[in-house]
């Protein structure tokens, strides 16, 4: 649990950034914004080809046996590129659940498919505004799921879904194949996230954990996904910091680069501060995954990641002036992604309350 990246991790960071830069296409991403139900195929092919789907899968199941640190670094590169598919984070959530739950048969059945990119994962915990409802309305009985989950990221095209439901005795965490569920595409401001309302009507599903074990596993999965998302947010925020910096050096007003005006200059310095604080929290959180410190560290990373990406999106656009709000220029790709990532895995209010409860023992 070192807080300094080793050579292998640095290589993953550099390589993932390199390959995404090489294959980036703003036009493709802009087109996706106006197409409900489409994601960025080329990006996802890259992810599979690069083995990102296999990163956290144990070697005996055809994976690379790596963990949150490595996945975080990939997510950071994806965030910088406003990656056009939502499967990486929930895919990791499903993977971690399968690896941890101790159901050898399910692990053996699904993990190789996930590693190979044949099965894409979605995670359906939330109902209404509850990120992890105490007693979910979605029910599980006799091996079958009933109920619905609104606007699940990646839900429209994933093959597997990890569902938080109510069982006979308390909550259960189950895994189901989405072929057996009804999906309705949700038209959103960030359409490549493939949000879908999922309806289960007797959908076959298998139990990963029950009762208290289910709750702690679900929390762990959620916290880990939040840390991956925080890395993605840092990547996006850092990209915006650099875009703003470069524009401030190039663009002239009143006869000098706008970067020479303190309002622009100091705003960019503040962006830098938010990015570095969030990055430091991400590195720490990934390093302490699996320890008692993790939940608090995950909340710290998530809160600062969201603040950094939101603020950088606001300020980078502002620094650009008129050009910053055009469709073609594309800064709104980050602005939209900042919003979708701020909501996926639970908003600021949720994580503030969770953190304070962990720190003070006082529930909201």
């Amino acid at each position: 649990m070192s807080i300094l990246y080793d050579e292998g991790q640095q290589a993953i960071a550099t390589e993932s950034r390199r390959v995404l830069d090489a294959r980036a296409s703003k036009d493709r991403l802009l087109k996706l914004l106006e197409q409900v139900g489409e994601h960025d195929g080329p990006f996802w092919d890259t992810a599979v080809e690069q083995g990102w789907t296999a990163l956290a899968v144990p070697e005996e199941h055809g994976g690379l046996g790596l963990g949150l640190i490595e996945l975080g670094l990939v997510a950071q590169a994806c965030g910088a590129a406003t990656a056009g598919a939502p499967f990486l984070t929930p895919g990791y959530g499903v993977t971690h659940a399968l690896v941890t739950a101790g159901k050898a048969d399910l692990a053996a059945k699904y993990l190789p498919q996930i590693a190979a990119g044949e099965a894409r994962g979605a995670v359906a915990f939330a109902e209404g505004t509850d990120v992890l409802p105490t007693s979910p309305a979605t029910t599980f009985a006799d091996g079958k799921l009933s109920g619905s989950k609104p606007a699940v990221p990646g839900g429209l095209k994933a093959e597997l879904v990890l569902v938080w439901a109510s069982g006979a005795n308390g909550p259960v965490l189950v895994i189901a194949e989405l072929a057996g569920a009804e999906r309705k595409a949700v038209s959103s401001f960030d359409n490549s996230r493939l949000y879908a309302d999922l309806t289960f009507a007797g959908t076959p599903a298998a139990v990963l954990a029950e009762g208290a074990a289910a709750l702690s596993l679900a929390r762990d999965v959620l916290a880990r996904m939040a840390v991956v998302t925080a890395h993605e947010q840092v990547g996006g925020a850092e990209a915006l910091l650099h875009i703003a910096r470069d524009y401030a050096l190039m663009r002239k007003a009143f006869g000098q680069p706008i970067g020479a005006f303190q309002s622009v200059k100091h705003r960019i310095s503040e962006m830098y501060g938010l990015v570095e604080i969030a990055r430091a929290n991400c590195i720490h959180a990934a390093a302490v995954a699996g320890t008692d410190e993790f939940l608090v560290a995950a909340a710290d990373a998530r809160l600062t990641g969201t603040e950094a990406y939101d603020t950088c999106a606001r300020d980078c656009v502002q620094i650009h002036g008129g050009i910053g709000v055009t469709w073609e220029q594309g800064l709104h790709l980050h602005m939209r992604r900042a919003r979708s990532l701020a909501i996926e895995q639970g908003n600021l209010l949720f994580w503030e309350d969770l953190l304070v409860e962990a720190l003070t023992g006082e529930a909201a």
């Binding site: 509850d130 038209s187 006869g255």
Partner: protein, 403 residues
Amino acid sequence: MSEIETYRAQARAWLESVAPKYARAARGKLNLSVEEDLALGRQYMAEKYDAGYAGINWKTEIGGQGLSNMHKIAFDAEEMQFGMPNVYFGISLGMPIPILIHYGQDRAWVKERVVKALRGEEIWCQLFSEPSGGSDLAALRTKAEPDGNGWRMTGQKIWTSWAQYCDYGVIVVRTDPTVEKHKGLTYFWVDMKAEGVEVRPIKLAGGDSHVNEVFFDAVRLEDSQRMGEVGGGFGVALHTLMIERYIATDSAGFGPHLDLFVDTARDLTINGKPALKDGRIRSAIARNHAMRAGLDSITKRAFAMMQAGMQPGPEGSLQKLVAVRSRQKLSEMALDLQGNQAFDFDPHAYVKEDWGTSWLNAPTGRIAGGSDEVLLNTIAEKVLGLPQDHRPDKGVPFNAIPA
């Protein structure tokens, strides 16, 4: 009941009488294209003119009703609640027409334009910003060169709202590149249908295209189209922006009313508890209410002073700066509060009634009509007497400034 109250009641009665045809509630169901909605808007403006509610506080001799600002405010307050299709005419009647009234040379022609603009038969746009200029009005490059007894204009403008539907525009151009940059500008009106004028819509981050690039290729201008002195364009432009400050105020920052935030929160829970019971939500409601109430009081006072023949204070310049900036964050919060439900998004939803479009279009509001930074500088320099920023181009002839 005061005279104003009586007037307000009459206005409301008339608005209700035409609402079934024009109000947003009615139009919403029809899924009209922008062009269809505009056509309906022109009909509404004509009926409004015939009913005597157009140009309420303008002099009768140029086609107005000759009533007070208070009458105008009363009508606008009522009209706003119906969501009539008048958005296309806001700028036209807000800035260009008042400027035309003030500076236009041929008074008969001016009156004809005013009436047609009030009736929605003609629309005027305002051509200020340029690609290279950004927030620096004095850096304009579009030029008009003497051509016989008139001028020939060439160049490019940008961020021109509704230009694709406009008949005329007011424009600031450089007529003398050899003097210090803000001194070489002149103000004209231009026929948007004239030869050499090309309008190209710009698609914005939110997906719609009501702003445009406008190209001028050797467009002929008669000297009678000039408004103000040759070289006096900067002053006229500032006058236009002054008007804008008082016309374009909305303490909601042109986004949803705070009541919508309360309604949104009322139906939601945070970690199982009612959102309205949560201190974070209460703080957001309270602070935004206090801020907006302050801006509204500033506006009320400004109009009361105008009414009393006094010059309102400069605090009016705070409106857009403060209101739009806070609208942006409030809209983000309203979306976040809804959790996954916030993902359900309609890009065509009305920005004053929808958190999604309000959030997505807020940045345009913080930039259009003077960016936050320009407004802060203006307050510092014009109101508080602080020094200008360093300007390497100061005092340098325009054609000697490195591009």
